[in-house]
């Protein structure tokens, strides 16, 4: 397998050598991660008393992070699958990023469930005593299935690049790395038959991961939707969660495009055109997300069921600023910034994406916490100080640790594989091959 020398040099900036800035950034992430581990040790040794969670709010920031990271993952799956299936010509520099978002977020997300569980020693009960009729079991099955599928899809996209790196004679990397490339490339040499096989497998897996992402995130939403809790008992929660996942995934994709473009000087590969195209996708998804949000709250408000009214009243009083930011600013501002051609620059699109991402995280917080503060049935012997939830440093440290692991894994991947797919960039039209 041969590739253009300049292309190889440009797209593998960290594989051969490591810059000081890489070590500095990685060290910062690692320190944050270690602080998170210290927080976790505190939590395990002293119990959940060190968190802000009490009898009322038993799901706090951990579950918010779980939903958020899983959303990023499913969005990455839907985006990478769709970009692959539609054979859009501009997809090539960004499809790998979407694939990596899928797998990395999917690896991080479930850890937040572990942090939330009081008796981690009983975790294996989920596997030895599963109840098929429990949404939690659906979620465990769904996440495991999704994880395997996403790994296969990512690996399929990496094989050709591993083969290129294996055969790249001028690549100055240690022998073990060459060996890894040799093993992982499965002896791929780029024959027509091999290309056909890989193209067919990728098309099948692209279709599967889109379907699985939709099903799995719907299952996650049903954990909330099947309860009678105010704010959760909603028939549109499935599609609402899927749309909001794509919303956040598009946001993180734009941010990562901006970061990698900046630090690896990929200006010739990730251009304004890519930002505009993904930005337009963000506008469309914002509009849908806004529509679902409005529809959900309108029906609850108009129905005036006591607990729903209390919840909406709480959202517009105690959580006023967060609610307005998450559901008005976070939706309208990206639409305005990207919608007006005058504002459509790379930096502004990235700002819009960052706003969308933060707003979506807050939206998740507002779905989880205020509802638990307004339970459907009164909680016995509850104390006033248990009702209102406020995350502690332990929860924030683990949240930041999750983000730092996200960064670290991206950095580690960039050390062994190209962040932009070299094979995709060689403009090989798989569709033609399949024909």
């Amino acid at each position: 397998m041969q590739a253009d020398n300049k292309l190889l040099k440009d797209l593998t900036p960290e594989i051969e050598g490591t810059k000081a800035s890489w070590y500095i950034t990685f060290s910062i992430f690692f320190i944050i991660f270690v602080i998170g581990i210290y927080g976790l040790v505190q939590q395990i040794s002293k119990g959940h008393i060190v968190t802000g969670m009490r009898d009322n709010v038993v799901w706090g920031v951990y579950i918010v992070n779980f939903i958020f990271f899983m959303g990023l993952s499913y969005a990455g799956a839907i985006l990478s699958g769709a970009l692959h299936l539609f054979h859009t010509s501009w997809r090539r520099p960004i499809i790998r990023l979407a694939e990596l978002i899928t797998v990395i977020s999917l690896v991080i997300g479930p850890f937040f469930i572990f942090f939330c569980i009081g008796r981690l020693d009983r975790l294996y009960f989920l596997f030895i005593h599963p109840r098929i009729q429990s949404p939690i079991t659906w979620d465990v099955i769904a996440i495991c299935t999704d994880l395997v599928g996403c790994f296969i899809f990512l690996y399929l996209s990496f094989i050709e690049d591993f083969a290129i790196l294996r055969d790249y004679k001028e690549l100055e990397v240690p022998n073990w790395k060459k060996k890894v490339y040799s093993i992982l490339s499965l002896g791929f040499t780029g024959t027509e038959q091999q290309r056909k096989i890989i193209a067919s497998a990728r098309t099948i897996m692209a279709t599967m991961i889109i379907a699985i992402a939709i099903i799995v995130y719907s299952v996650l939403s049903w954990i909330f939707g099947v309860t009678l809790q105010p704010g959760w008992h909603s028939t549109i929660f499935g599609p609402y969660f899927v749309i909001s996942a794509v919303f956040s995934g598009t946001g993180i994709l734009i941010i990562l495009m901006w970061i990698f473009r900046k630090i690896y000087h990929l200006e010739n590969y990730i251009t304004l055109r890519h930002f505009k195209n993904v930005g337009v996708l963000l506008i469309v998804v914002s509009a849908f997300y806004g529509y679902f949000t409005f529809s959900d709250y309108l029906t609850k408000w108009y129905g005036s069921v006591k607990m729903d009214s209390l919840l909406i009243d709480k959202l517009f009083s105690d959580y006023y600023s967060l609610f307005i930011f998450a559901n008005y600013v976070g939706i309208l501002l990206p639409i305005i910034i990207i919608g007006l051609p005058k504002f459509r620059t790379i930096r502004n699109i990235t700002i819009a994406a960052a706003i969308a991402l933060v707003a979506l995280w807050i939206n998740r917080y507002l779905i989880v916490v205020p509802t638990l503060e307004t339970p459907f049935l009164p909680i016995q012997d509850s104390r006033a100080e248990w009702v209102h939830y406020s995350p502690t440093w332990v929860e924030w440290s683990l949240t930041l640790a999750g983000i730092s692991v996200f960064g670290m894994l991206f950095m580690l991947v960039s050390k062994i594989a190209p962040i932009i797919s070299i094979s995709e960039m060689q403009e090989i039209d798989e569709e033609e091959l399949l024909k």
Partner: protein
Amino acid sequence: MKVHQYSILLILNIVTLFTSNTGYAQEKISPNLKLQYFKNTDDQRLLKATLTFTQKRNEKPLPNREVTFYAGSKKEILAKIITNEKGTASIQLSNDYKLPLEKDGTWFFSSDFTGKDSIDAASSEISIKDVHLEMTANLVDSIKTINLKAYTSDNGKNIPVSGEAINIFAARMFNPLPIIDGTFDSNGTLSLEFPSDVPGDKDGNLTIIAKFDDHPTFGNVEKREVSQWGIPSRYQEPNTHRALWTKGAPTWMIVALTIMLIGVWGHYMYAIICLIRIKRSAKKEKNN
């Protein structure tokens, strides 16, 4: 900086102003403090203060605030209690504690909240005449009859309560269900016929409550009596039970899940077979 970047900053500033909630925080809250007296069926007495405020025509509790309870017009401090999430603070008055009696034979209670930061002070007071309530539930000529007697004490002398209305309830899970009411005669007695169509538990047990409800002179005073005057309730198993709580999952769920999993993992197997085929073709090519 370019013009459009200034525009973005301007938008962000407007947004910050828009989302700012400081308007609420700076508003001075004028709370309401309501003091209530309760005497239960075992003659245990309780004082309850509820601290609330009105926001947008809705009454909201003020939790975590200190309320002080006093007894007598000389304001003898009984206790300082922090309000719970419902804005209420309660103290139980020990029967051993001799409450200061006013000249008119009443007990005077007051409570106050001293106010803090953006919340005004509030106070409330009540005068209570201690009333003794007796209730018996008997069958008189096969008629379910409730006999009530109420009197107050003045220097050891019983004075009948006359002309005062009282309500009879049946205890229910959340709030008592009003059944009948009546007015005491000049002897402080009252006989009421209890209806025979009130549902009880599965054995027909019914807790009957006679109660002065938020009475201006007596406060909240009640007597309870358990009788078998209710109609036994028979809980019928619904035809469609909650499938998620049963031992086994419903068949349709198992079938749907199995089909989905076989479909998905089947495709995974296909992808893995593709990988094996690539490996084999590479080997074949190498051998050739």
